[in-house]
């Protein structure tokens, strides 16, 4: 025996580490990744590869050469940012656009604030929104899935995009949604960014995260409920102008956003109460943007807006202290 170790209590630690939690998130994303590769083919694999590799490399380079600090890529958070960014762009996006997205996500949205834990906005979403604003052509030219060994892609719009366009041309919602089979939405058979395509795979990952107690389900549930309730009200008022709840729940990356982006530890409130308010905010803003905004899709913007008020939510919604009013 060498010298005795002396430290303040507690003397044991749970098995959780930042790395293990992030690894769980990566595992939870695997079904969605497999789905998107199966539906979109090798091009999607390339997108994923470029995105993950550039995120990890950028983080490594920034910590090593700019911050001159120990590398933080071991915690796997850059891998998650990479996967989420890839799932948020169409599989036809050129590699250099994805690289620019990674630069914005890791370089601007994450490392500028001091790396993991310090960022205000979800890095992958900032990257995605930057690309959406800067390269609208690449980001809005969606292609219908062609499968791993399928034929050439057919260009088209996402369901939400198609409906917005149709509404502007004077069609009613009923006519437009008639074109979609909701079963297809659930099992990923429609155009969209990779992550939007298979709701079931995403939900499987979400259930895994909840079972592993990595995240609590409240944020996700409150987003989904708010979207359902809000759209139910509007749809009830005017079914010709507004889309129905089920359609809204299954399209536009809502499930990806609610399960994996809004629940990001760093950019979501700590308390359950705060999380529920945060989720209500996201759900409501999403629906407002979808119904009245000029973008067909609002989840990314809604999450980023609510990210900005997280410090306030943390201040306002605290858990009850023991023995205090």
């Amino acid at each position: 025996m060498s010298k005795l170790l002396v430290s303040p209590s507690p003397h044991i630690h749970s098995k959780d580490s930042t790395r293990s939690l992030m690894l769980d998130v990566v595992i939870a994303l695997i079904p969605a990744v497999i789905c998107s590769v199966v539906f979109y083919g090798w091009q999607e694999l390339l997108v994923l590869g470029v995105s993950v590799a550039s995120c990890v490399l950028l983080e490594w380079a920034i910590t090593k050469y700019m911050l001159k600090a120990p590398s933080t890529i071991g915690d796997l958070s850059a891998v998650i940012t990479g996967i989420l960014l890839a799932l948020n762009v169409p599989y036809t996006t050129p590699w250099w656009v994805i690289f620019i997205g990674a630069v914005v996500a890791i370089g601007v949205a994450k490392m500028t604030f001091g790396g993991i834990g310090q960022n205000i906005w979800n890095p992958a979403l900032v990257g995605r929104v930057f690309l959406l604003v800067s390269f609208p052509t690449y980001m809005t030219t969606w292609s219908a899935p062609k499968g791993l060994f399928g034929a050439d892609a057919v260009s088209g719009a996402t369901p939400l995009g198609a409906i917005q366009e149709g509404l502007m041309q004077g069609s009613t919602v009923q006519e437009l949604t008639a074109a979609y089979d909701y079963k297809d939405l659930l099992f990923a058979n429609l155009g969209g960014s990779a992550g939007e395509v298979c709701a079931l795979a995403l939900l499987a990952g979400f259930v895994y995260l909840c079972c592993r107690k990595v995240i609590k389900p409240w944020i996700t549930l409150s987003i989904l409920c708010t979207v359902a309730v809000t759209s139910l009200i509007f749809w009830g008022i005017n079914p010709a102008r507004f889309t129905d709840p089920l359609f809204n729940l299954l399209t536009g990356g809502l499930i990806l956003g609610a399960c994996f982006m809004a629940t990001d530890y760093v950019t979501s409130p700590m308390s359950v109460k705060g999380g529920i308010v945060f989720g209500i905010g996201i759900g409501f803003l999403t629906m407002m943007i979808r119904y009245f905004g000029s973008y067909p899709e609002g989840v990314s913007f809604a999450i980023l807006i609510m990210n900005s008020v997280v410090p306030l939510l943390n201040m306002w919604f605290k858990q009850k202290k023991f023995g205090r009013k």
Binding site: L5, V6, P8, I12, M270, K321
Partner: protein, 447 residues
């Protein structure tokens, strides 16, 4: 079977009760014992023997230094060798009375037989006085003098006595063995406490991972025919045995910040304390020994020992075969709240409940990384605090903000640091903030 638990937070460390099958055994008396005068919360006791005096087991060797104080008795018979400063397990010098052991001669009047005495004194005052004379202090860890706890301030009324048999700290088994092997005595001790508090009902709270103890104590209560006493099965959750948490779980009442359990009508005593109460009142035997779990995965000869107060730790360890090669840390107490031993020459005190050996892999802290704001510390905190915030405020030395965010409510259970995935030394810093806030509160109270 319904299981009870507290309402906020908590963690689930593996309970690791590996020494649960080891029956209580007497540790041979050491050649010399060192009895500290500051074994309890409150004023240190004043030695009342001189160097060269002959003492017997159970003889008073130090008297209380104030109302919140306790008698200290000789745990051995022999000659007082010195009364001098000696380092405790943290290396701090306090006065110790060194006694060289000669034989094992007990003071007259102490009943050393095994017969169970169930006849309870009629008068509550007699019981409390006997407890005071027996030097009984809370053996659950806090070592608060028991007679003070049993003398509620005017205006407050006790409604329930709770016997804390949760033993929620991983590894520890001495209370479990005591319940199994000395269940009758514990139950009579509980009845004495009931009587002392004016015949209020009593609940013995035991965690679900000790089914044998639960069954045994139920049997004993039925056998002795106590009506106002029941066993409550608690959920396995840390810190179930925390005083405030236990009251919340048993009585659904929350003790306010800075308030005492009696403010909600509860008196909580540990199983070992109940045994000590029995021995002090029924057998005239003061606290001269206590049961100590010696355990750890790396420690081959696990044991639950009955150890005389003042035995050097080194003596206990040598008796069980020395420190294993891969042990790097020795803890006095459990792994969540125990204190790391820096000095093996230190002697046991009344409150010593365990010696735990941990290996490098089990206990070495991982390097601190950035807070990822996961909120696991806040979820784990049984007091509903925000450890991540208190950590920051304490590091910034903003004591006013620490107070506003209730740093003084921290019970130092260690749940926050245990659950932090970024390995941030939350509790280390919160303790600092808590200390400053408490001294500020005391300073204000004086004014």
């Amino acid at each position: 079977m319904s299981k009870h638990t507290f309402s906020i937070g908590g963690v689930h460390p593996h309970d690791n009760k590996i020494s649960r099958e080891c029956a209580l055994q007497q540790l041979p008396i050491a050649p010399a014992v060192y009895i500290g005068v500051s074994q309890h919360i409150g004023a240190p006791s004043v030695p009342c023997v001189a160097v060269g005096d002959k003492v017997k087991v159970g003889q008073v060797i130090a008297e209380p230094g104030g109302f919140v104080g306790a008698f200290i008795h000789s745990s051995v018979s022999g000659t007082v060798k010195s009364i001098a400063p000696r380092a405790d397990l943290a290396g701090r010098s306090t006065t110790h009375i060194e006694i060289a052991v000669e034989g094992d001669e007990w003071l007259e009047g102490i009943d050393t037989s095994d017969t169970l005495v169930t006849a309870i004194p009629e008068d509550a005052k007699t019981i409390v006085e006997k407890i005071r004379l027996g030097g009984v202090v809370g053996l659950g860890g806090a070592t608060f003098p028991t007679h003070v706890k049993l003398s509620p301030p005017p205006g407050s009324k006790c409604e329930r006595v709770i016997i804390n048999g949760c033993e929620c700290e991983p590894y520890l088994t001495s209370d479990f063995r005591t319940l199994l092997e000395k269940g009758e005595q514990v139950v009579v001790g509980a009845a004495l406490l009931q009587k002392a508090m004016g015949g209020v009902p009593c609940t013995i709270a035991i965690e679900e991972n000790k089914p044998e103890a639960i069954a045994h104590i139920r049997e004993v209560i039925a056998k002795l025919g106590y009506k106002d006493m029941d066993v409550m099965v608690m959920k396995m959750m840390y810190p179930q045995g925390g005083e405030k948490q236990l009251i919340d779980a048993v009585m659904h009442r929350q003790v306010g910040s800075g308030a005492l359990p009696i403010s909600v009508g509860a008196v909580v005593q540990n199983v070992a304390t109940a045994l000590a109460v029995y021995e002090a009142v029924q057998k005239n035997k003061p606290i001269i020994d206590n049961s100590v779990t010696v355990t750890g995965e790396c420690f081959p000869k696990q044991a639950n020992l009955i150890v005389r107060v003042g035995t050097p730790l080194q003596y206990i360890i040598d008796y069980l075969g020395g420190i294993p090669a891969d042990a790097v840390k020795i803890i006095s107490g459990g792994p969540m709240m125990g204190r790391a031993v820096a000095n093996l020459q230190a002697a046991t005190v009344k409150g010593t409940g365990a010696l735990l050996f941990l290996t490098e892999k089990q206990t070495r802290r991982a390097p601190e990384t950035n807070c990822i704001r996961c909120g696991k510390c806040a979820d784990a905190c049984p007091m509903g605090l925000e450890p991540f915030l208190l950590n920051k405020l304490s590091k910034a030395a903003d004591w006013e903000a620490c107070e506003a965010n209730a740093a003084q409510d921290c019970i130092e259970c260690g749940c926050c640091l245990y659950s932090c995935p970024a390995h941030i030394p939350l509790l280390d810093n919160i303790r600092v903030g808590k200390g400053f806030v408490l001294s500020a509160i005391r300073a204000r109270a004086k004014k």
